[in-house]
Amino acid sequence: MNDPARLQAFNRHVASGGKVEPGDWMPEEYRKAVGRFVEMHANSELMGVLPEREWILRAPTLRRKLALTAKVQDEVGHAQLLYRVAEDLGKPREAMLADLLAGRTKFHNVFHYPTRSWADVGIIAWLVDAAAIVAQQALRESSYAPYGRTMKKICWEESVHIMHGRDVVLTLVNGTARQRALVQDALDRWWGPLMQMHGPRTDPAKDRDLAWRIKNKDNETLRQEFLNVYVPRIREIGLEIPDPELRQDRETGRWHYAEPDWRELYAVVTGHGPKSAERLAFRQLNYEQTQWVRDTVLAAPEVAA
């Protein structure tokens, strides 16, 4: 199937910015790589609602409750869209959910941590979503066109979440000293995972996802972009970033920072985070409780007599 000339033409096509549609010929390795990438993204959207969901019942006002509920609904909607993109590449959704629940596939590190106060909800919606959108905006140009199109819709919704999160954080920092302390405490706990989120520096030359333009920016580029925009925004409202080494090089514009804890990242994404087991167990319970819906929808159609 993979004859060298065809493969070479494909590689040239994607390297020069060409797009791939589901019905187009693609090398098996490309199909697998896109599938794996999108599946991990879908898993993250699905698992990412669990930390926030815990706060729906405790939201401080009705408007906040509505906004948070809508955000949770959006993220599940993103999971639906992304599982569909991955599914179209060949792996059935049931298999993806089974792999997620069994810990065979991963989801983003930030969704393995507890949410301790309402300020966490603000920090997650503002900064976790901001770090994510930096990556997601680059994915709009993915060589796999259905993924790129889906990311356009997702980015649009994520930008609303960031505004919602920033509004929560600003409301708190304009409040009492105790509320400000809650935000600072949340930032102190989330900064480490945020810095780990884009992953360690990798050699772009060795990254096949980059060569195929499944993604268009390497990990360090994404982290630098996030720091560039968000460090000033965090500092201008009087919050302190818990990294004494954090500074921007005046000449190069690059940010220097304390080396993120990559061992923690590896442990967390392989299912050893503080909330990994609990969240997967909850997802499993939820999966069992909704089995009757799938049984109904997926049943063989009954022919009327």
């Binding site: 599914e87 959704r93 259905p146 819709k153």
Partner: protein, 120 residues
């Protein structure tokens, strides 16, 4: 050209999803605008497909109309021999004229303004 549209296979064969069909969703953002492809979904029939499409592509009032089309009904035409033939077709496009036309216009204007052009 292929009958049956992009990736003509329906859902993953066998398994719990064998009775589902792929529907492509097109959405219109405002009245009079183009129908733009949004994505696709799996559903057992058109009626549920329409409900899923509304949930995934109209939940935030971002669409005024949706087209929900069985993928099997789409005929995918992407043959470059048909759509991008290698012949020069510049005579069909404005760009086929833009290169020479400035020079010709300048020449005509010069002629019109010249001594023997004033009708005397």
């Amino acid at each position: 050209m292929s009958a049956g549209g992009p990736g003509a296979q329906a859902a993953a064969g066998g398994g719990p999803q064998e009775h589902l069909e792929v529907f492509e969703v097109f959405r219109q953002e405002k009245e009079g605008g183009p129908m733009v492809h949004g994505g696709n979904l799996l559903a057992p029939d058109g009626e549920l497909a329409a409900h899923y499409a509304r949930e995934l592509y109209g939940r935030r009032q971002e669409s005024v109309r949706l087209w929900v089309v069985p993928r099997s009904a789409i005929r995918d035409v992407d043959d470059p021999d048909l759509l991008q033939p290698p012949m020069d077709r510049s005579f069909k496009k404005p760009v086929g004229y833009s290169a020479g036309i400035k020079q010709k216009l300048a020449q005509a204007r010069e002629r019109a303004a010249g001594p023997e052009a004033d009708g005397a």
